[in-house]
Symmetry: C2
DNA sequence: AATAATTAGTTGACAAGGAAACTATATTGT
DNA sequence: ACAATATAGTTTCCTTGTCAACTAATTATT
């Protein structure tokens, strides 16, 4: 197979897998009233301790309008606090609440379980190879978009 | 790294790459008034010569409601013909039009170009490794969802 | 210091995609 | 043959995500 032949197959598979994972994520998070994207934003706040929207837009490469709306939803669900920043009055600090922490942990539990399931029958070395390949692809796409 | 550590990173990367590719696809197809999903449905009709919605729903793993709407749009754009089937009056044959063929080819041209760009600096062997990994992952996820 | 240009975040309008109910036709079981 | 069930596709309603215009605050320019 030539590069020309292989490239579109790789793209096709990545799109297919991405879609499947998103659907599956949404499905698993359903009981928490969150979808995969919303969780990734919540998780990012959880990890950082204290962030503003801008840094999340950069980190997760999302639309700022979208992040703004999700933040509103998460705040409405009392999963995060919003504290006005002193240095820059345009932006606020997003901080996870106790309830938010509990939610993140509960979600993670389900995800860990699922990860155990799908990695059950594959050797670690193959996973490592896959990760390396993904890293290469990711950097190639980052450069060429 | 253990499986437990590596698994969520792989998932994260796949979601990230999938999102990037979708965005990039939408962007490239913009001049044709199509998005990545719509093109994949159009392309599937183009490839098959003659299909009904059901087989596309199966092949591409999409919601039938969604496919129905996209088919309507593609028909409205005169990219496909809809011919009632004789064997089953509930379903119709979807057939690409001349205009549709032209559109597919024009889209492919752009995509080929982009594929050349991002594969320019990577060896074929690495692409092959990546494809193999993706195939493994895809089948794992298919089993575990 | 005053004006212009950026930047953080919000809002509103709109397209995309998913779930469920629905229509019309086909298939199955008795 | 007839009722029950299943299937192909459509429609409706709702949420999500994108784009563009906007507000308010900040930084840069003269």
């Amino acid at each position: 197979m030539t590069k020309k032949e292989i490239a579109p197959i790789i793209i096709g598979k990545l799109l297919n897998i991405g879609g499947m994972l998103q659907k599956n994520g949404n499905y698993m998070l359903q009981p928490f009233d969150l979808n995969q994207q919303q969780f990734s934003i919540l998780f990012s706040i959880y990890e950082s301790g204290k962030v503003n929207q801008k840094s999340m837009v950069n980190k997760l490469v999302l639309e700022k309008a979208h992040v703004s709306k999700v933040v509103k939803k998460l705040h409405g669900m009392e999963l995060i606090d919003i504290k006005p920043s002193d240095d820059d009055k345009r932006s606020s600090w997003l901080i996870i609440t106790e309830k938010g922490k509990k939610t993140v942990k509960a979600c993670q539990k389900i995800m860990y379980k699922w990860n155990e399931d799908w990695t059950k029958d594959i050797e670690l070395s193959k996973l490592q190879t896959a990760l390396e390949s993904l890293q290469v692809l990711q950097s190639l796409f980052n450069e060429n978009t």
